[in-house]
Amino acid sequence: MPGERVLVVDRSSTVQEATKAILEEHGYRVTIASNGLATVTHPEIERFDLIMCDSTLDGIDGLETTRQIKTDKEIYKIPVLLMIPEDSIDLLESVPLKGATGWMAKPFTPTRLLTKVEEIIDEQRLRVRSRKYLDDAADRQMQQLAETKIQAAVEKKIQIIVERAIQSIVSIIDQKARREVDARVTALTAEKEQELVRITVQEVAKSMIEKQAERKVTEAMQTILVEQTEKTVRRAADSMLPSMVKDRIKGSLEDILPREVEARVDKAAQLKAEEIGEGIVQIVQQQAIKHVPLVAKEKLPELAERQLVTLTETKMPRVIAESARAAVAKEMAQTVKPIIDEEIGRLKRARRTNLIIVILVLLVTLVVGILAPIVVDQTGILSSRSPAPVTQPTAPAAQ
């Protein structure tokens, strides 16, 4: 493959020249060096695609040179092809090659040299590619891992925050409600206004706790909880994340996380708000159950009494007036009519007393006519001693 840069390191100028000539003929760009120190100190060593290194160099031998390359974090990826003199191969067979990518006996033929060099460069190319896949996979995994970790951390944090918020809100409401109820009850009892106390208690129980508290809870939930949670979560997320992880996934986080967190916080808040609502309603109900029956028990007799009085005052006069009129009419029919009828009969039998009878009838009619309006006027007082006066006026008239 043309253009690849090869560093040929051999103490022999003959080997350097011949190797260089062959490789250059096949398009490689060749640099030559005679020792291991020069190999590792080349100003642009990282640009080489292959380092061919004789195992028996002056000063620092090929194996040590290889070790230097392979333990340097910037250049360890450069493949190293060791050239081992044929007569020392036996000695080296059991010796580790210090991370060299391959080895080749020396002397070598141009064909062998080119095959080996191509082979290693091809392999390296493959390795670079698969390393890239590996890197990508690792990156993805890292990102996933980081996301999961962050999510878990955020969820945990949200849970803690929400729980704390609910706790504090509940306790605040609890305390406040209790304090207010207590305060009012105490104040009203002191004034000895039993009725007002009861009404107030009812009022407090119903309106204040039920409505106001509920509204307050909702408001508080919406404002304090959401804001505080969001703020705390953001802060917690910032401080909690290891900076390395943060850098690594920063890009993706900017896209995904805010939406995710927001959605989750919303959801969690909604859920929790419902729970809190229920909790509060329960508290209120408990409060109500505790207070309402007492109030009701104490209030009922007094209510009944009042109703009776109202009834008496409004309906009684009409009933009495009607029954009095009915009684007068009855008395008239029962007592006055027979007497009149008897007198009429006597008059008929004794025609001689016609004049007297006529005078008598006239007299009785007059008396009844005078008496009737007086009786009606005095219904309330005279209702009990009704027909007696009817006969009394007649007696003087008859005398």
Binding site: E17, A18, S34, L37
Partner: protein
Amino acid sequence: MQGNLHEVPLPEVLQFISMGKPSGMLHLRRDNNEITLYVKGGRIINSSSIERKRRLGDLLVQRGLLKRSELSQLLQLQKTVESDKRLGHILVERDVIPEETIREVLRMQLEEEIWALFAWKEGEFRFETVDEARLGDAIVHIDIEPLILEGTRRNDEWEAILDVIPNDSLVLTVASLDEEFDRDSLNLKPQEWKVLSEINGRFTIKAIVNRSGMGRFEVHRILSQFIKSGLVVIRADTPLQNKSSATTAKSADRADAGKKGGILSLIGGTKTKDKGAKETLSFISPIGVMGYFVNVLAQRVTALKEYAPSEGDDSLYEAIWSDIGQTYTKADLLSVSANSVNTRDIETFFSGFEFKEAVDDCYEDTIEALTTLLQTAFRVFATRVGERPASRIVRELLDELGDQTIVKYRGPFPLVERVQNVLRLAA
């Protein structure tokens, strides 16, 4: 104008020349060293030193600008057809190397040469005015003023470098690394790395200078820094320093090995009986033929009764090789010990490549190196046993081998012609 550098230092002499703008030759001599600077119109255009001619060609080969075979051809040409011309001119005229490149190489070589003279505190100088036309065309013209400035500056630094690197024949090796070696802490510049990359535990500083394609001063400066920092150390057993006790345990072992398997085992030759009585020798390549030739030469010469050994003769080849090897650096798979050349490694290596084009340069360097070894060794043997016996042995050997050798690669090899070309054999 003439005098002593002790009284008039070189910078002042040059200053004087620069002002008068003359044309001529400035001869400088110190002990056995003599050098002439050619001046044209107050500018230096060339120099002549003993090794000069050799060096330009080698320099070009070592820098990969010229092939060894091309150089040989050009030198042959210079010897025969264009004897009046300098190698530089021939190269330019024949368009072997672009003029600009030649100029650059020559300029650097010349400047380095002159700056080296700045270190001369003693010696004679003489300026001889010459007609401008006689000096011929020049490829480079070096202004003296800036040369003096730079030379003076370098001279001061040289003092410090010399404390660390007393001579160029030293062989350097890299130190072993600490466990906590931090490669980033070095942060080498490309030139520094180039110098470091040439150190192999075998090449001398001189060879490193030549191979690096950089100036001598620059290479020395960089190397002295490496040495001071402990990254590079001077080899204690630098061959040239141990000339007298060259027969180390290692080379003795090698010598034994050589004897056991016979000389042919060292050079990879095999004997086959032909129909006739004469033996035919098969070799892998001309390298093996040359190796066999020089090895048998040493054996036969030292076996002569006229042979009067001198101190160090046991490792004569080794001593010669330690010098030649620094010039023919691409032949470094050849090994020499106890007056015996081992060509097996290099021939095996080349065989792997089937001696194809890729190894051309190295092959040519090797043949050239062996030829030079033969040449030098023959001169030494001639002084030990006399010209005639030495020549006789060479002739005998050529008769024996002559056309009988078979080479698998790079044949046929005109051994007789080649040997006769380089050795002036006595009648």
